[in-house]
Amino acid sequence: MEFLRPRSVREALETFQKTPGALALAGGTDFMVGWNMGLLNGKTVVDLSRIAEWKGIEAGKTGVRIGSLVTHAELQRHPLIRREFPLLVEACALIGAIAIQNRGTIGGNIANASPAADTFPSLAVYEAVVHTASPQGRRAIPFLGIFAGPKKTHLRPGELIEAIEIPYARPRPSAAYFRKVGTRAAQALSKTVAAGLLWLSRGKTVAESRFALGSVAPTIRRARKAEDYLRGRKLTAETVGRAMDLVEAEIAPIDDVRSTAAYRFAVSKNLLKEFLECRPR
């Protein structure tokens, strides 16, 4: 195995150009799982951890820019992220356990493209944008547009994630919701994971709602039909029930070793209900 350690973005991009099959390594937490299974034997590895440019969190006027190498632990500690993006903080706090949060990065979480990744529902409802860099130039990709399937992205060979930009939610939402239903309290993969933002108008009707679900389809899903249906409606037992039925049509969970499709359907609907009822747990 060849192990390369570029010191800058330019060097990193050059390295990938020279060795097209090379594999990026950030925190290594997903990487090491594949390594242990012998899937990476003989590959060239490019360690990104010396690229200082990708390690910062910058506040802008309309949003925040998070370097791809920022760890889940750093995100949880950052005052601005805590204030503006509590759903991201909650998600990061439930990734693996402390050791994983100390090493795992947000860029690695996105690039790994697991259908069960826990930051995705939050990034989806905050409508994040992923910034990439490659020898061909830079791109900005809307968060939902980056995923091609389970463990697959639309990133091109040699294209790296450099930052994630998240706009501030303005006006501030009336309610924010995050919940991970995993296999246990820590070191757990999600069976379903949800995030929601809700803006109510003065008349208590829904001005806007955003709801996203992970682990119940090949990629992260926004519940667009339910969101559209709820716009302008009051939250009653009937409208909530209707929204729950609409969610059912937007997801495609499967039976696997971790859970069943029937359970994931039921819980996904219940999560939407819990979100809309703003019920404290």
Partner: protein
């Protein structure tokens, strides 16, 4: 100051904490090859051909197959299991061939260059399948072993009972999930074999090696390496993997080490036996037991291994700790084409006790009497007679542990306040509190201890060093510490003057296997007797008092050894007076004594996700004298956590006879965050036959939480779910069914 009764420091604690303790894989054995195992991909079939792809440089490897094993039998209870499959495979992952290479990576790579061609046969994968006798795998009826326990007249009792309650309960596999995977090494010198590894029972391995390779006692030496947990998972399986290492080493003429990775360990090695238990219970209107008719069916897997003894413990514990005049337990363990199930903490008892205890919920519903009152009415007391006709003469803490768990947990108050809480549909969760009460026999079942005829010794060297000599292994549970406490007090010496010899068949006598909650109670008892003999001799040599310093002890030791290097004092097992067992009628004193435990499990069920969260386990456990209270409480806490795992999380997903989730990512054991807070109360009802009054504690804690949790889920959701694990998917399925029926 006496050591017994104090929470003396762990004997091997500093070694382990500082990283100096050497586990098998830490041993750098010169010239050692690394061995890997080629396993069956199908559950049942004939092997037509094993094809070694020429693309791999086979000359770098040593390959062993069935032909290389002089007697291809893994000796245990029956002789039905081969060390390597010979022409036929009877379960998925059955070992077919072995490959050794200098490099671990290359050895694994070699596996990818072997292809096995099979003629598949129809597999039998479940208990029902086996019972149907569609395919016969063993004997004439697929039954590995059957036991029948009878007391009184069950049919008459049931006929005369005003209330009869029936129930069927199912419990699944469970993986031991010790920290260290199975690992063994072997080497030969001048026709003699040494095997070293992670194991619980050195003399089981010793016996198996003798048979495999036709060796005499003196030609086999088995050494225990520091062992990272066992829970029964290293009771019988080291015979297999030790045999594999030895076969490869024999052919290679070099040492061979085999260390499983987690996936292989989980998928291929033994698990707890799944079981179906059916109860038909007759009672008086006021809730007194009149008859218990119990059927037990266990899934043994493809070979007999330890199934008969697992079944026997399950059978004897099946009625629970209650007196009933008419009992019948009809128990069988059946053959299936799945990896053999084996020893796991509790050894058959958690399975049958789950059914016995959860059944009280059904009886409570049928009689209108709450399960606590029912238990109080029927629980064992001194003088009670068990289903096997055993009169319980002493140390019966059943009622005491029940009352303590009930009192300390606030059971009664919670029971009624949760009833009110659950009526409010606005609440985000349902709440429940449930009870269970169990007994657990210490030591081998029936005449097991007599057949074992264990021996243990205490020696003193000319250098004044006192040594404990036993084959009982430290597997994290505290054997070394307990032995040093018992022997120190028996001798009247400070504990730091007592050393523990490492279990090594060249140095220690056969004190039997480290299983069955027997180490402290039975082997500790032998050591106490051996130490008493040494004490008398020492007193004589030292002129009437036991020396308290190293130098004085040395002087006495020189006199005592009289020119020899050391003096040894050995004791061998004698059944306690008045203990009798009859194998033919399966009746009598099944165990010298029982330990008792009660749990109150306080839980919540989330209405959104159907997840069960245990808020608190309150448990009282009568274990006789606690030789080391901290270690005893540790056994209770650890066993409880393991039982919470079995009850709520651990789900072995089998597909075509093969575990499909053999990783700790997908086979969910509780983490620290999933392990509930616990209140542990030790009740010390002394047992006259145990050292300083000790009984067993190793397995007991595993028996009791699961049915208490299931009973709590019953109160919370109103649904009696008669199966484990109570994963959210299962709760949701039952909840959905109930909603539909309404």
């Amino acid at each position: 100051m006496p050591a017994v009764g104090t929470s003396a420091r762990r004997y091997e604690g500093p070694e382990k904490l500082s990283g100096r303790a050497l586990y098998l894989d830490d041993h750098d054995i010169p010239g050692c090859l690394f061995g890997v195992t080629l396993r069956s991909e199908i559950p049942r079939g004939r092997i037509k051909n094993v094809v070694f792809d020429r693309a791999f440089p086979w000359s770098e490897c040593v390959v062993a197959t069935a032909e290389d094993i002089p007697t291809n039998i893994v000796a245990l209870i029956e002789d039905d299991q081969p060390l390597l499959a010979d022409g036929i495979v009877r379960h998925a992952l059955e070992p077919i061939a072995l490959i050794a290479h200098e490099s671990r990576e290359k050895a694994y790579e070699a596996l990818r260059f072997v292809r096995v061609e099979y003629e598949e046969l129809p597999p039998v994968l479940t208990i029902e399948d086996s019972l149907s006798r569609r395919e016969i795998l063993y004997g004439s009826d697929n039954v590995f072993k059957r036991y029948l326990v009878r007391r009184g007249d069950v049919e008459k009792g049931l006929r005369e009972s005003p209330v009869v309650v029936e129930g069927e309960y199912r419990v699944p596999h469970q993986e031991q999930a010790y920290i260290e995977n199975n690992a063994m090494a072997a080497w030969w010198k001048d026709g003699a074999l040494t095997v070293m590894g992670s194991l619980q029972c050195p003399y089981y391995v010793h016996k198996a090696m003798k048979k495999l390779f036709g060796l005499s006692d003196g030609q086999v030496r088995v050494i225990q390496a520091t062992t990272g947990g066992g829970f029964g998972g290293k009771e019988e399986y080291p015979n297999m993997i030790g045999g594999h290492a030895a076969a490869l080493a024999r052919k290679a003429g070099r040492p061979v080490k085999i260390v499983y990775d987690r996936s292989e360990d989980m998928a291929a090695t033994t698990k707890r036996h799944p079981a179906i238990v059916r109860h038909r219970t007759g009672l008086s209107r006021d809730g007194r037991l009149i008859a218990q008719d119990i059927q037990v069916l266990m899934d043994g897997g493809a070979y007999v291994t330890l199934s008969p003894v697992v079944l026997s413990r399950g059978t004897i514990h099946a009625p629970g700790p209650y007196e009933c005049p008419n009992v019948r337990v009809d128990a069988s363990v059946l053959a299936t084409n799945t990896p053999p199930n084996g020893a796991f903490r509790g050894f058959g008892a958690p399975q049958t006790l789950f059914a016995a205890e959860l059944h009280w919920e059904k009886i409570a519903a049928a009689t209108g009497i709450d399960s606590l009152s029912l238990r109080r009415k029927n629980a064992f007391r001194e003088g009670s007679v068990t289903a096997t006709g055993q009169v319980l003469k002493e140390s019966v803490g059943a009622r005491e542990v029940l009352d303590l768990a009930v009192g300390k947990s606030g059971y009664l108050k919670k029971r009624s306040s949760y009833k009110r809480w659950n009526r409010d549909p606005k609440k985000p969760c349902w709440k429940g509190i449930g009870l269970a009460l169990v007994h657990h026999g210490g030591g081998f079942t029936g005449s097991g201890e007599v057949y074992l005829a264990s021996r243990a010794a205490v020696s003193i060297g000319r250098d004044g060093l006192v040594r404990v000599l036993a084959a009982s292994t430290e597997i994290g549970q505290g054997t070394n510490t307990l032995f040093s406490q018992i022997v120190a007090d028996a001798l009247g010496l400070p504990r730091d003057l007592v050393a523990i010899e490492n279990p090594d068949t060249a140095k220690v006598p056969d004190s039997g296997p480290t299983v069955a909650s027997r180490t402290c109670m039975v082997v500790g008892g032998l050591l106490r007797r051996a130490a008493d003999d040494l004490r008398s001799a020492l007193l004589e040599a030292a002129g009437g008092s036991i020396p308290q310093s190293r130098s004085k002890l040395r002087q006495a030791a020189v006199r005592l050894c009289a020119g020899e290097k050391e003096r040894r004092f050995e004791a061998s097992y004698e059944p306690p007076a008045g203990v009798h067992w009859d194998d033919k009628s399966y009746s009598g004193d099944a165990y010298a004594v029982y330990s008792y435990a009660a749990v109150a499990a306080d839980i919540e069920v989330d209405k959104t996700s159907f997840e069960v969260r245990v808020r608190k386990i309150t448990t009282a456990q009568d274990i006789g004298r606690a030789i080391n209270p901290l270690l005893a409480a540790g056994q209770v806490t650890g066993g409880t956590a393991q039982a919470v795992g079995w009850a709520l999380y651990e789900n072995v997903v089998m597909k075509n006879g093969r575990m499909t989730n053999p990783q700790l990512t997908n086979y969910i054991i509780p983490t620290a965050l999933d392990t509930p807070p616990m209140d542990v109360i030790l009740v010390e009802k002394p047992f006259s036959g145990g050292p300083f009054g000790a009984k067993g504690v190793g397995e007991l804690p595993m028996d009791v939480p699961a049915p208490a949790i299931a009973a709590a889920v019953h109160q919370a959701t109103g649904i009696l779910i008669p199966e484990l694990p109570l994963i959210p998917e299962t709760l949701h399925r039952y909840h959905d069914q109930t909603q539909r029926q309404r």
